[in-house]
Amino acid sequence: MNFLGLEDRVWLWMASVCYVTGFGLGTAYLLRERRQSRLAQYGIVAAGFLLQTLGLYLRGRAVKGCPIGNTFEIFQFTAWSAISLYLVIGATFRLSLLGYFTSCLSAVLTLVSLAMPRAAWDPEPRATGIFGDSAWIEFHAALALFSYGVFGLLALTSLMYLLQTYSLKHKRLHGLFSFLPSIIELDRISVRLLVTGVVLLTWSLGIGSVHWVQDVASVDPPKLVGTVAVWLAYTLVMTFRLRSRLVSTRFAWIGLLLFAGALLTLPLINASRHPARPPPTPATQG
């Protein structure tokens, strides 16, 4: 599907260029030990977000549903989720360097997805939406992926926490370290992100489980195990953190490693996807 004569992939490429620009400019400023304007960084990321939203919208129109039907789209949607959350958090909490790190994460995710062979990301022509006719399943999938975006941002704040702690412990306060937010602020944001991510994932799994109970064969065991394992791990981490049993650098390391693990389950979940069942009645173009 095209807009202004450009297909969705072109818009997604342009979004990726924005994220790479944000990351590149941020790196240039850091190397020169200059503070980049937060507004400029925010503007670049916001421009990328708008372009990516347009690209995903066109893709969604093409696949007749939320564009999370293959690995390419899943990576794109995860990056989009992280960016959308950054746009809220960045404006509210004004954490310096969060925009830089979010640009970095989104640049990597979007470039990896765009580097996939065309066969991997071309939408399959379908008569119905990728989730059949069930809006709830589509919502479940979108919510789950959005929570991955939240966990992505949590991984970034965890990384920033570890860098700040390293800087203060080893008395290296210049360069990148001089621009990092305080460890208390980072910890506070991380906890909020963790709770948000767990709530969203729980909500998503709640919706999914209703569907699963009705049709147990609709979900393959690898997908079930992978999803539940991610949910359980984050829920346990949240419980320990809220009880002050998992704090400081251990909490940050787990936030970082758990996201890497969660990303690894994405192809597993995607591979288990059942093709959309043929609808009982012919679908209409919407």
Binding site: H174, P181, I184, V247
Partner: protein, 351 residues
């Protein structure tokens, strides 16, 4: 044909005069006001502003007609009971474009003893505000000072000339901010009565610390400190039990043994798992067991660490001077033609 008005600077600074001579020309007490009165009567002096700080006394003015600057100097020397010949030995005298360049450098902190310090900009703004209030400035100096303030802000934003703190006490405050973000709700314990500890606590208080407690071996000394800092005092023996209640602990006793051991810090951090503990050890021999630095969520800095960071920051500021000067030159290029136009429009003194 009458001569165009000129912009001038007359004075002395730490670059030209040692402390004992700067003391003699300082405009203490009523002297500043009296000098302003003297200058008001100087023929040909169209505009003026006086900057008086610990490190400099500078008169910025617009002179119309020959001999005006000499008359200003005579008035200045007379006010201080100083021979003009002696003043000329320490005098800083600049004209026109050099004045613009000098003022921009002063405002940006390039001419300060502590390069990049920001206090001078506030002092300059104060001097200008007073001159404006006394209506001793006009189109030339108004333009010059207003553009100078903008340029100083530009230089500070686009260079690292003011980056990092350059004395141990303020470095400690910066570190506390890196750990806790804001200090308004921070709880600080000062252990001991060392001078550096007092300076650090004052710096912390100036950044908003509201909850301060002091502890000293001698009870009367603890009470003295509590009165000086308007805070609570606890006995030295209670430090061990109450350590977990504090975010920042500043130690500066003369004790030969550690006042805060690794075990005490470990116990404190266990009791407050969500809040880091920042230990500032300003004592020699050290008050905090260095092994405490290895504990998670404990940040320990001693006197050498703080001095090293201050030294690095100062070196970084010095490395930025050349970049700041390039920016200032560009600003002078832009500003000087405007000043020339205004100087040319200044009416000559009556014949």
């Amino acid at each position: 044909m009458s001569q165009a008005a000129t912009l001038f600077l007359l004075g002395a600074s730490h670059h030209t005069a040692p402390l004992e001579l700067r003391e003699k020309i300082a405009l203490t007490g009523d002297k500043l006001e009296a000098l302003r009165g003297d200058l008001r009567g100087v023929a040909g002096l169209k505009e003026y502003a006086v900057l008086d700080t610990c490190n400099r006394v500078e008169i910025y003015g617009v002179a119309a007609g020959a001999g005006t600057i000499d008359r200003v100097q005579a008035a200045f020397c007379a006010r201080h009971g100083m021979e003009p010949a002696n003043f000329e030995k320490i005098r800083l005298k600049l004209g026109d474009r050099e004045v613009v360049e000098h003022l921009l450098g002063v405002a940006a902190g390039l001419d300060s003893q502590m390069i990049g310090e920001t206090e001078i900009l506030g002092q300059l703004k104060e001097a200008y505000a007073e001159a404006q209030q006394k209506t001793t400035t006009g189109p030339v100096l108004n333009r010059l000072f207003q553009k100078t303030f903008q340029a100083a802000k530009h230089v500070r934003t686009h260079t690292g000339i003011g980056a990092g703190q350059v004395n141990a006490a303020t470095v400690a405050v910066d570190l506390a901010i890196k750990i806790f973000g804001t200090l308004e709700h921070g709880r600080v314990l000062l252990v001991g009565a060392g001078e550096m500890g007092g300076k650090t606590v004052r710096a912390l208080k100036s950044r908003g610390v509201a909850h301060l407690t002091v502890a000293a071996r001698r009870e009367e000394r603890a009470k003295e400190l509590a009165a000086a800092f308007e805070c609570n005092a606890i006995s030295f023996e209670r430090v061990r039990d109450t350590l977990a209640e504090y975010d920042v602990v500043v130690c500066c006793t003369s004790s030969p043994d550690p006042v805060v051991t690794r075990g005490m810090a470990a116990s404190a951090i266990r009791r407050r798992p969500l809040r880091p503990l920042f230990l500032i050890d300003l004592a020699v021999p050290r008050d905090v067991d260095p092994a405490a630095a290895g504990l998670p969520n404990v940040f320990l800095y001693n006197l050498d660490d703080l001095a090293k960071i201050a030294g690095e920051n100062l070196a970084q500021r010095k490395a930025e001077v050349a970049r700041a000067q390039v920016l200032i030159k560009a600003k002078v290029e832009h500003l000087w033609p405007q000043m020339q136009e205004r100087l040319a429009a200044t009416p000559p003194p009556p014949a």
